[in-house]
């Protein structure tokens, strides 16, 4: 009983910490100084350097989806609708989730490890001692950079996925290129694109808040950094799935 209670208190403590980090990062993003250089640098690290892995994962997702859908739907004689199903599920669901998971693994882990090692070597204390707000200079800049770049990465990934699907459709499903694109365009609505970009925006804020919070609160030396980094990826991934469910529930039908 007592052990469970402790676990519950710990849980609440972390929820509070993550929420507080979210609030701080959001508020500080609109307060001077803006640290434009740091934000752009972070966008480069987070966005540009994730490009290759995003291109890889989304292209292969498109390839596999087209093969699977093509195969299953030809059983029902609906092979021609492969591209519409593929594009909508890619844009609304798989693109945002898969790319956000990849970014949580690459970028979220990196943020926690970097901030965590700064915390255990007292660099964050030193920054405060020198009169600079580390929540502003370190957390808010990463928060902003991730919120801007993740939706962009997802948009790029969606396009790659569609191209992957197109490649399989024309080469092995016998669907013409024109038909693939016109069918896709016919069934892809603005609301799908909106929902598909809202998700990564929310996931980005989640990944940033979790990874910054866990990084800032590392104690216990290098071992603590490793543990926090693992936890950062696990917690972000779980929350991406939970939030995805909730956002889908709210947006499906509504928008």
């Amino acid at each position: 009983m007592k052990a469970h209670f402790h676990w519950f208190l710990d849980f609440l403590h972390h929820v509070h910490g993550i929420t507080e980090m979210f609030g701080r990062s959001l508020a500080l993003s609109f307060i001077k100084p803006f640290y434009l250089r740091e934000t752009v640098e972070q966008m480069y690290h987070i966005g540009f350097k994730s490009l290759s892995i995003v291109l890889m994962t989304s292209t292969f997702t498109g390839l596999v989806l087209a093969m699977q859908f093509g195969h299953e739907m030809s059983v029902f004689g609906a092979k021609m609708y492969t591209s519409s199903v593929l594009v909508v599920s890619l844009v609304r669901e798989l693109g945002p989730v898969i790319i956000s998971l990849v970014v949580a693994g690459r970028v979220g882990a990196g943020i926690t490890a970097e901030l965590g090692s700064m915390a255990v070597t007292e660099q964050i204390d030193a920054m405060r001692a020198l009169g600079t707000n580390p929540y502003k200079k370190l957390a808010a800049t990463r928060f902003l950079a991730l919120s801007i770049t993740l939706p962009l990465l997802v948009a790029i990934g969606d396009l790659c996925g569609m191209l992957g699907g197109w490649l399989v459709s024309v080469t092995s499903l016998g669907i013409s290129s024109d038909y693939y694109w016109s069918n896709a365009a016919h069934y892809l609505f603005f609301s799908d694109i909106f929902a598909g970009l809202l998700k990564p925006f929310i996931f980005a804020m989640t990944i940033a808040s979790i990874s910054c919070y866990l990084g800032f609160s590392v104690t216990g030396g290098t071992k603590g950094v490793g543990e926090a980094t693992t936890r950062s990826v696990v917690v972000s991934s779980i929350l991406i799935f939970i939030l995805d469910f909730l956002i889908t529930k709210v947006t499906l039908g509504a928008i």
């Binding site: 700064m118 001692a129 020198l130 009169g131």
Partner: protein, 246 residues
């Protein structure tokens, strides 16, 4: 609330998740002196310094600096207080993604409206003071432990603070390097007239820079006074501590 001492810790308590660290700490420091706090590892020396900087908040008790109470101050006002204080962290805590020069320039680049040329000049003067000229373009990872301490001191002095806090400045250094760091601490107090608090568990180093010394244990000051007075203390823990390992 009148407070004559320059720095005054009044009945400070601080615990970390039920683990008591400071337990009724009282400590007064005079303007311009160098006070050395001696104590075992883990007795709460670093926590004491961080409370003075406002990096940690005591659970109870009050801290005064130059007649002003800093406990309960807003973060905004604390930033102004911190500009009067320079701290040399135990592991130097240089920003490892910045060069030596950028480290020393950090506070000025962040908060002053000085031009790049003015900042460069202050940086090279400060590096010269700590005998590290010509290292501005190196990365912290290229420096030895003693060199890092010097750069950290140059960084702490960028704003010309009135108070310098040294957290274990010689711990982990070889005896010769430790001696040069102690000489640097004395040179700083001589040339700038700063008030200094040096925290260490190394007796010889501590005594070599101190005007007064205090012995700390279990989150309290057991004895404070001149080095002679400390050496003549009748307090049992102080005697054991000064006797050193058998």
């Amino acid at each position: 609330m009148e407070q004559d001492n320059y720095i005054f810790f009044q009945d400070i308590y601080k615990s970390f998740s039920d683990k008591p660290v400071l337990q009724g700490l009282n400590l007064a420091i005079e303007r311009g002196e160098t006070l050395v706090i001696l104590g075992r590892s883990g007795c709460g020396k670093s926590v004491t310094l961080k409370i003075l900087l406002g990096l940690l908040y005591p659970d109870s008790g009050r801290v005064f600096l130059d007649g002003e109470e800093i406990t309960g101050m807003s973060e905004k006002k604390l930033v102004e207080v911190r500009k009067k204080i320079g701290m040399l962290f135990q592991g130097s805590a240089l920003f490892d993604s910045l060069t030596v020069g950028e480290n020393v320039a950090f506070a000025l680049a962040e908060h002053s409206d000085k031009t790049a040329a003015e900042i460069d000049e202050i940086v090279s003067n400060n590096l010269k003071f700590v005998e590290m000229e010509g290292t501005a373009n190196l990365m912290p990872s290229e420096l030895s432990g003693g060199m890092k301490k010097r750069v950290a001191l140059a960084r702490a002095m960028a704003y010309q603070p009135d108070i310098l806090l040294y957290d274990e400045p010689t711990t982990g250094l070889d005896p010769i390097t430790a001696t040069t760091i102690n000489a640097l601490i004395r040179k700083t107090q001589r040339e700038y007239g700063v008030t200094s608090i040096v925290v260490t568990h190394e007796l010889d180093s501590g005594f070599s820079v101190a005007d007064r010394a205090a012995v700390m244990e279990n989150g309290r000051i057991l004895e404070i006074g001149t080095i002679d007075a400390i050496k003549k203390s009748t307090h049992e823990f102080v005697r054991t501590f000064l006797a050193g390992p058998k």
